[in-house]
Symmetry: C2
């Protein structure tokens, strides 16, 4: 049995829940983690409300190998992620000299006002995650990685974090085009193939455009032979159905 390393993602921010900002981080992080052999198992989006953040952090960090958060680490009053994480862990928080040193690379001493020093508030016991773009750091505490919400900064932080992560067997993903076959035609056969190997998960994904439906079948698993075998069975099934079917 391949090692499974799991993760959850917590997106923090009213702007996502009102639709003002369209999230770009979920898809990016999902693809990134999958690519390095970490299974993203759950995502939550919560508002800038301390008790909601604390509850979600504590629910998720206990359930998965890692929890990643994005958003709420800027200098304004609505940036309450660091304080909420400290509360979730039951640890103190204060202005961290290491974080101040990083901010000093960007700001002149007279520019480092109280608001900007909020960005140096780091829970006790946390390690910093550097921010090569705007300097204000993220941090890691326990199995929780706290990152910026701005996509370019989050992406830079993720690159910095990645080498320190435990990773499991990488997911092997094979995509098969159903090429004109309707889901309802291949569903029964596909279900039988899906039952035949527990280590392989098979999904069928329709998408719809002005030119009609397009169906893709995706085979996922960590054992190359199992994935190849399921994919071969699916191709055989589709070939057989294509020969048989009445025109739709």
């Amino acid at each position: 049995m391949a090692i499974s390393v799991t993760a959850a993602l917590l997106i923090i921010g009213d702007e996502i829940l009102t639709g003002r900002t369209k999230d770009k981080n979920i898809g990016y992080i999902a693809e990134y983690l999958t690519g390095i052999g970490i299974d993203l198992r759950e995502v939550r989006v919560v508002p800038d409300v301390e008790e909601e953040i604390v509850a979600a952090v504590n629910a998720l960090r206990g359930r998965y190998t890692y929890l990643f958060t994005t958003g709420g680490i800027g200098p304004t009053h609505d940036d309450i992620t660091a304080d909420s994480i400290a509360k979730a862990f039951g640890v103190g928080i204060g202005v961290d000299p290491r974080a101040v040193a990083l901010l000093q690379e960007r700001y002149q001493p007279h520019e480092l006002n109280e608001a900007r020093l909020r960005m140096a508030r780091i829970p006790e016991g946390a390690d910093l995650i550097e921010n090569p773009i705007s300097k204000a750091p993220g941090f890691r505490i326990g199995n929780v990685f706290v990152m910026a919400g701005v996509p370019s900064i989050m992406q830079a932080m993720l690159d910095i974090i990645a080498p320190s992560l435990q990773t499991g067997a990488r997911m092997i993903i094979e995509t098969i085009e159903a090429e004109g076959l309707a889901e309802g035609i291949y569903a029964e056969g596909l279900g039988q193939i899906a039952l035949s190997d527990e280590g392989v998960s098979i999904g069928s994904y329709p998408s719809f455009s002005t030119s009609g439906f397009r169906n893709q079948i995706v085979v996922r698993g960590k054992d190359p032979e199992s994935v190849a075998s399921a994919a071969a069975a699916i191709r055989e099934l589709l070939g057989r159905l294509k020969g048989d079917r009445a025109p739709l």
Copy 2:
């Protein structure tokens, strides 16, 4: 105090968690609900695993006025949303004659095989939500609305559902450009304005491109006068800081 109608959104599907499909429904639904006066308070993404879906449905339907779900109502073996919802509500599920009638508008009798009839499995006591695009219906049970995952179908279903929803006072949103001012410059003054009216929430949102940072301040609230008053105070603050500041 304005009436508050709240909602959660549950996105069901392995394809989102692996990054294979980039979700487009969260942003659309968030903006849509905000526009009709429903406050989206939480989003979760869970895999195609029955116990995860059941747990999330029961956690969310109890907490908010409405729960909307997307995904997992097609004909293939990985489409387990309807059965999971029935389990969450503790009710039976079977092939629903009303849903079969809808499918018959699209499929010839010999095309209505067992897999396609899965799309007519509807929990007992549910009302159907019509699907003008591909006929397979969604459904409503209690305060839970079960919709397709394909964006165009989900959007059509949401239009059908919307007139039946209780809505609260619409959120009034005013966006103010900080025009070159850094967050750290206006953060303190903004925080004071944010404290002055509980019914108004103020967010500051940086975005980053090759041309540098751009900051937008967003004022949200349900009382027009409160929003206007906070926005005026913010504009006054920004104008004052612009006059004062040293060049950055």
